[in-house]
Amino acid sequence: MIPSLGAGGRRGAAWRFEALQALDWPLFAVLAVIAGGGMLMQASISGGSLDPWAGAHGLRFLMAVGVAIVIGLTPLPWWLRLAYPIYGMTLLLLLGVEFFGDERLGAQRWLQIGPMSLQPSEIMKIAIVLATARAVHDTPTALLGSLRASLLPLGLIIAPVGLVAHQPDLGTSILVAISGLSIVFLSGLKWPVIAVAGLGGAIAGPLFVMFGLKDYQRERVLTFLDPGRDPLGAGYHITQSKIAIGNGGWTGAGIGQGTQSRLDFLPEQHTDFIFTALAEETGFVGVMVLIGLFGFVFLRLMAIGADCRNLFGRMVASGVAVTIISYVLINMAMVSGLIPVVGVPLPLVSYGGTAMLTVMVGIGLALSARNGAAMTMPPMSSLI
């Protein structure tokens, strides 16, 4: 997977240097500002200290940037070729979790391979983008948008979504579904099909809540509907995060001054609930700035997709954009009490290596698409 092993030799090295220069540095700058904000918040809630989170967070971001650059410099066709193998491997790992996984915090998400502990559901967030993009890419033009052409990508989506939901990890399975479905949608799936599928979802949704969810998941949904039900139990998260956000007001309490953040009223605050610290300490103004930065990232990635002359690059860049922005939307909606708590981190701001790596790998893929925007790659073998 290392680019220097490519066929180019010296010419290839020059191409890579130019490619490095041509990488989307403004995008990196914005991502760095976001990650820096996250670092600041990590430091603030640990009382102004780099330990235990802020320092590691910054370091991980730098490493993840390196990974993104390497991926971004890898020629796009490689990814087209690797899309299914990566997907297949990840699906196997998910099956492995199903049978051999470690149980942590009541859910089987981790797979121990030697000294490494792996969370295949995180890899799947990227793999699903690659696989559906590849499936769309391979579809004969005449069939694009038809139900028949969409059956393969839908199948590719349903398998991992089902496995992840069964772990159970509702948040990730929703994200995987959104990433995959957004690509199917972007590929031009026809409206009548969407309408029928939407209707089916509207019927299946409530049934799923009542019969398909684990007790604690259903509890979260029900608690969401009435947070006062159990103020120290499941509703505690929502009540406390709303207090912290509201306490921030328009301009915030100031960095390091958020009483709710500093006094540990919020569990999992450095991870999924980091947004509340930001909202309390920097207020509405700070949150708007953050939303603006994420908006820039989203539009930038969507623009990369739009500029691509090949369908795979389009789908990959847009899919990554949707994946990242869904993280943001779901996380913010969750902590501000608009939707139930589903355990989705805020990209680059929340503490956590896997999620950060996932996001930066996605960025890398989008950059690879950007470098390969001019390529007109023919469909590979069509499976349809």
Partner: protein, 649 residues
């Protein structure tokens, strides 16, 4: 193979749609934030403050209790405490409390500091209390125990050690009955009152501590402290919401030195000793022996130690000075004499004593088998001749004797208060209705018993019987149904000595201090002088101080009936009888004779004879009282310098 344009346009449309959806999502989130951070801001600010600050009770410093010379009788001592916050301990609470109990060193008698019963009651308390209120596991633990707990703190979630204050009684058992003690309000007493349920709050359970609770406790304050989500205090910064108002320091009329001397003189006897200022009614000594150490009650008593106290036949938990009622015996003869004088009996009139007096179907005896020969009133009192007082009693009649007994303070409560009367009435009504009140609602601390002054009226009313003529003779020598407390005997003596209607006083300051000075009694001064002269001639009243003399009267009260058969065989000596059947030994006295100032009563329960067993104790106590002369010593005053003195002592 390039894609057809129309399809790319579709893709553009879709991209716009998707972007719009994302934009809509952010719009929704922005609207939500405007709601939370804008419109509802104030509400959440308030909630955040509630999260951040916890109101903490700041117990007021309990008032210090001093004796009349400024010696500390009750103060506050700093101690180590261990408690647990049930919320923080969570489901492991029982396990944690047991672990702490296991770390505490046992009582000196070897019983564990916390029995299983105590642990269960702690757990029950934790269940009913709100989760964040710390529950006391033990107060006043040793430094070693505290260190042991602190070392294991990581495994003992929710356990806190702290430095607190406990009530301390430096004189131990000496003042146990009169001062009483403090302890945590029990569940009935506390009810729903969060203050009373707070582990730092103690209430007076007995004696002055209970009686003067309102003055001593002061007003508790409150502070706000910053806490984190677990309720842990996060900064030293405290915001005082209401400052605590310390309790009133109280000065009692008691004299610690005299009280100590009384205890020493009483030794291991079961005795009640009262010393009183006959002019002001101030009590210098109010001692009941044996006693108990009130500090044990503050610390928490092992069940075994409590049972031992409770089952002791000498009743160490019982205040004999106020609640013990005894037949006054010969000490009552002054009342009979005053009644006879009032009835016109001439003091010089001679009554011949031959040792017995046939009366109706019965024979009444003098304590002296051979009789005293001719007796007048002076010699009748001095030698305590029973025959003389049989005659005097008949002259006076039971009503007049009762009248004089009451004038001298018998048959009435002296420490009664309207609230105590109301409590008694409620308790009586509840008992009559068959639903007795719980004990804590019937307690009336320091209220004395009224004893009994019988008269024909009383007999008809209570016993539904006519008064028998022989009863008058029995009452005349202080026997029969007559009952008096040691306090009443001291009041009686004080009234005879001063001619004033003195009432006992215990407080030199505060709301319970006396409000009026005693007024003269409606008894002719010459009658009192005759009685006093008789008391001066009592041999047992020899004080042994040069130039200072004491007047007194002995009494020996039978607690069993001596049958004619036993009298024929020879009355058994007290030392041959079991303790509970021996006579009570009594002695009342006042001094100095030329200018009386102090009166004293001593009752030794089942102690034997008044002159042999009670008088020596009174003599020692009076000797020290006169040497110290507390009534004329400079009075201790509270001022800013010594207010709260006992706190850090």
């Amino acid at each position: 193979m390039p894609r057809p344009i129309d399809h790319l346009e579709t893709l553009t449309d879709r991209r716009l749609l998707l972007s719009s959806a994302v934009g809509l999502g952010f719009l929704g989130i922005t609207a939500r934030l405007v709601q939370l951070q804008g419109f509802e801001q104030a509400e959440f600010r308030e909630a955040a403050k509630e999260n951040q600050f916890k109101v903490q009770l700041r117990p007021a410093r309990r008032g210090v209790i001093y004796d009349r010379a400024g010696i500390v009788l009750a103060s506050n001592r700093r101690v180590f405490q261990v408690r647990v916050v049930p919320e923080a301990a969570g489901k492991r609470l029982p396990e944690i409390v047991r672990a702490v109990a296991g770390l505490l060193s046992p009582f000196p008698d070897g019983t564990p500091r916390l029995t299983e019963t105590a642990i269960v009651s702690i757990l029950e308390e934790a269940e009913t209390a709100r989760g964040f209120v710390p529950i006391s596991i033990a107060d006043d633990i040793t430094w070693e125990d505290m260190v042991a707990i602190a070392v294991r703190a990581p495994e003992l979630a929710g356990v806190e050690t702290s430095i607190g204050e406990v009530r301390s009684y430096p004189n131990g058992p000496e003042f146990a009955h009169v001062i009483g003690y403090v302890a945590r309000a029990n569940r009935d007493e506390a009810g729903d009152d969060p203050v009373l349920r707070h582990p730092d709050i103690r209430i007076g359970k007995d004696g002055v501590e209970a009686l003067a609770e309102t003055a001593l406790k002061g007003a508790h304050g409150a502070t706000q402290v910053e806490v984190n989500a677990a309720g842990r205090i996060m900064s030293d910064r405290e915001i005082v919401v209401t400052p605590a108002d310390p309790g009133t320091d109280l000065i009692l009329t008691l004299d610690a030195a005299v009280q100590a001397e009384a205890l020493r003189a009483a030794g291991d006897k079961s005795a009640a000793i009262v010393v009183m200022d006959i002019v002001t009614g101030e009590l210098l000594t109010l001692l009941s022996t044996p006693g108990f150490d009130p500090n044990d009650f503050v610390r928490g008593l092992s069940q075994r130690a409590f049972s031992a106290l409770n089952q002791d036949e000498k009743r160490p938990l019982f205040n004999k000075t106020l609640a013990g009622t005894f037949p006054p015996g010969s000490t009552f003869k002054m009342a009979t004499a005053l009644a006879a004088l009032d009835a016109g009996m001439a003091p010089e009139e001679s009554v011949y004593c031959r040792g017995y007096l046939p009366f109706g179907s019965h024979t009444f005896h003098c304590w002296k088998r051979g009789g005293h020969g001719p007796m007048d009133m002076h010699r009748g009192i001095a030698s305590s001749c029973d025959l003389y007082f049989y005659e005097a009693a008949q002259r006076a009649g039971p009503e007049r004797i009762a009248k004089y007994a009451r004038l001298l303070g018998l048959g009435a409560r002296h420490f009664d208060r309207p609230d105590a009367r109301a409590i008694r009435q409620r308790a009586a009504e509840a008992a009559a209705a068959g639903t007795p009140l719980p004990v804590h609602l019937t307690r009336t601390p320091l209220v004395d018993r009224e004893g009994l002054v019988p008269d024909p009226d009383w007999k008809l009313r209570v016993r539904k019987e006519k008064w028998a003529a022989g009863e008058t003779l029995n009452i005349g020598i202080g026997q029969g149904a007559l009952l008096a407390t040691p306090l009443q005997l001291a009041i009686m003596t004080a009234r005879i000595a001063s001619g004033l209607d003195v009432t006992p006083q215990l407080f030199r300051n505060g709301p319970l201090a006396p409000k009026q000075t005693p007024a003269p009694l409606p008894i002719p001064a010459e009658h009192l002088a005759i009685v006093r002269a008789g008391m001066e001639a009592v041999a047992a009243a020899n004080l042994g101080l040069p130039g200072i003399f004491m007047a007194g009267k002995t009494g020996t009260a039978q607690v069993r009936r001596i049958t004619a058969a036993e009298r024929a065989r020879g009355v058994r000596a007290n030392k041959d009888l079991p303790w509970a059947l021996r006579d009570h030994a009594l002695f009342v006295c006042y001094a100095p004779v030329d200018a009386p100032r102090y009166a004293c009563s001593v009752v030794v329960e089942h102690g034997g004879g008044g002159s042999s067993d009670a008088a020596p104790i009174a003599r020692e106590v009076m000797r020290l009282t006169l040497t110290r002369d507390p009534a004329r010593s400079p009075a201790f005053q509270l001022n800013p310098t010594n207010a709260g003195l006992g706190r850090r002592a």
